[in-house]
């Protein structure tokens, strides 16, 4: 099958799964329930999944590292401290939340990148380590801000665990615009990613300005992560699993991989949200928990499989 037709099959699957997601839920399926409750949620799941998977794809390409993921790199945490800080400073308008999430997401990935980079490369060990460092540091900051500024709103804390339950409607609308747009622009820069994944000097020899492309792509990925975290909290593993599986199916060319990851991420998160909504109904499980439960074994499998192979 050609990559084009594989993408077609994938988008068809996304449609089918979305339809299933609309018809499955803890309440009896009726027109208003589907239209008013499930549709926004399925839409949110599609968007957030898309954002996380494409962000993961970009990070993996830029860092030349197939184990990169917004959650493990501390970018999601970065976005979360932005949101928590904005809340602590009473900047509760979605605009400020968004801006803060984006700024801190970008800041944290740049710092992680700087820490991990040695001799122009980003070795797997230092990358994972600096990601963990960043996550730990920011989580501590989040708790600090909480104990200093917040009294009752553990809602925000719980929200950081990742759930598609309820988003601010305005934030949702912003994400609805930002996520597809960022995905589209990332797609436009897909060849840059292909070339950059072979080293920055090589990229320049092939006529791509590595510094400029890196800035654009890091910004796009951070925008995607900030959007996802702002509306749904921190959900891990989607950004790791999806690009991996799709690279096996579509090959490593980012011009197919980015739209593929967008579709695959949407698919995966909607499926996981079906589980989150229905497994313990009427009680809800945060989808971030479902993702971690499903993702950890996958991560272990990846580590085992990759042993001995050259990164």
């Amino acid at each position: 099958m050609r990559p084009g037709s594989k993408l077609m099959v994938l988008s068809l699957t996304v449609f089918i799964v979305a339809a299933v997601a609309l018809s499955v839920g803890p309440a009896k399926t009726s027109f208003p329930v589907v239209l008013q409750l499930r549709l926004p949620r399925v839409l949110l799941g599609l968007l957030v999944g898309m954002a996380l998977a494409v962000a993961g794809t970009i990070y993996q390409g830029l860092l030349r590292n197939p184990l990169a993921d917004p959650y493990f790199l501390g970018t999601s945490s970065g976005a979360s401290i932005g949101i928590v800080l904005a809340g602590a400073l009473h900047l509760r308008s979605p605009f400020w939340l968004y801006l803060a999430a984006f700024f801190f997401a970008l800041l944290s990935i740049v710092i992680v990148y700087r820490i991990a980079q040695t001799h122009g490369r980003v070795p797997i060990q230092t990358l994972i380590l600096s990601g963990i460092l960043m996550t730990t540091f920011i989580n501590a900051l989040v708790f600090l801000v909480f104990s200093l500024f917040y009294r009752q709103s553990f809602m925000t804390l719980f929200f950081l665990l990742g759930t598609l339950t309820e988003g601010d409607p305005l934030l949702l609308k912003i994400s609805l615009a930002v996520i597809p747009l960022s995905v589209a622009i990332s797609w436009y820069f897909a060849q840059d990613l292909n070339v950059l994944s072979q080293g920055e000097e090589s990229a320049q020899h092939l006529g791509i300005d590595p510094e400029r492309s890196k800035k654009i792509l890091f910004t796009l990925a951070s925008l995607l992560v900030a959007s996802a975290v702002a509306v749904s909290g921190m959900i891990g593993f989607v950004g790791l699993m999806v690009p991996h599986v799709l690279r096996m199916i579509l090959g490593p060319d980012h011009r197919q991989l980015i739209p593929g990851a967008a579709l695959g991420g949407a698919l995966l998160l909607v499926v996981m949200d079906i589980v989150a909504r229905t497994a313990a109904a009427p009680v809800e499980i945060p989808v971030g928990v479902v993702a971690a439960l499903a993702g950890t074994p996958f991560f272990v499998y990846l580590l085992k499989r990759k042993k001995g192979e050259v990164f």
């Binding site: 309440a27 009752q152 719980f158 759930t163 409607p169 909504r277």
Partner: protein, 299 residues
């Protein structure tokens, strides 16, 4: 999974009295040993008590032993002569030691290591479980009363509360129907189940918790199910009515349509297992009645 743990931990610490799973362990070894200490070595002068849960502080105040309290949490109302020692899950042990308490009043929680640590330090502790019903609420008054030797006062309070609950129940019996009620204690969609004293307390006003079938004190529930169970009354501790109405698909919920939303109650008074609860419930009933009068033609 580590993450989940931490977050749960924090949830409880900020509003512990509402969230903790209750267990009826009045005769647990810890409590027995503390009684032993109290009975044997009780000095003749006033006791020094550190209370690590706001609800217990309120109970002790109601038992007229407020002047014995020397340490409180950051969620208590600050008061002269009472030092803030942090909160139940993160108390400052140094501050507690410096206060020379005769004993500590703590909540009962499986996940808390604080109680054990305090016992190791040699402090007698009284563990008050989170009440799952009104009867258990009264039991917790009695437990504390025994510790401070105010059993008679406790019975007075309980009698008073019982009779006022009785009145509330009688009044609400005149309401033509029992209102299906959704109680949101926190966003998004955190509610209380049937195993929480508040579910029963609110029930006396004629409001029936739509999630009383949940066999746990609290949970995050599916918005679909809330809409499906179509509450006729919403009691919200956090969001205002206008914010609730903006939720997707909530326009047609009966409570929203008829504006049967109560969003202005004193959260602490209504949610803490303390004697003040009855004031909160009385106010709640008055509020429900006024809503009903306002909407009488449509009911």
């Amino acid at each position: 999974m580590l993450k989940t743990e931490t977050v749960n931990f924090e949830r409880r610490s900020m509003n512990g009295e509402l969230r903790r799973r209750g267990g009826r362990r009045f005769f647990s070894s810890a409590v027995l040993s503390s009684w032993f200490v109290v009975f044997t070595f009780r000095p003749l002068w006033a006791m020094r008590i550190v209370s690590l849960l706001p609800s217990n502080t309120e109970i002790l105040d109601a038992l007229d032993v407020g002047e014995q309290i020397v340490g409180i949490t950051r969620f208590d109302r600050p008061s002269a002569g009472r030092e803030m020692v942090g909160d139940f899950f993160q108390p400052s042990l140094e501050k507690i030691v410096a206060l020379h308490p005769d004993y500590l009043v703590v909540g009962q929680s499986a996940s808390s290591r604080v109680t054990r640590r305090l016992q190791e330090l040699g402090f007698p502790t009284v563990e008050v479980p989170n009440p799952r019903s009104l009867e258990e609420l009264f039991d917790s008054f009695r437990l504390l009363a025994r510790t401070v030797h105010r059993e008679a006062r406790a019975e007075e309070i309980i009698e008073d509360m019982r009779s006022r609950f009785q009145k509330i129940t009688e009044r609400s019996a005149r309401i033509p129907k029992r209102l299906r009620t959704y109680i949101e204690i926190d966003t998004p969609f955190w509610t209380i189940g049937g195993h929480d004293f508040l579910s029963e307390a609110i029930g006396t006003t004629g409001a029936k918790n739509i999630f009383s079938d949940l066999e746990r004190p609290s949970a995050q529930v599916s918005p679909e199910v809330i809409v499906e169970r179509d509450p006729e009354l919403i009691i919200s501790f956090d969001l205002k009515a206008a914010q609730l109405a903006r939720r997707a698909g909530w326009k047609n919920v009966s409570a929203i349509r008829k504006n049967f939303v109560i969003d202005d109650q004193d959260r602490d008074r209504l949610s803490r297992p303390s004697p003040r609860l009855i004031d909160g419930i009385e106010d709640l009933q008055a509020k429900i009645e006024s809503l009903m009068i306002k909407n009488a033609p449509r009911l």
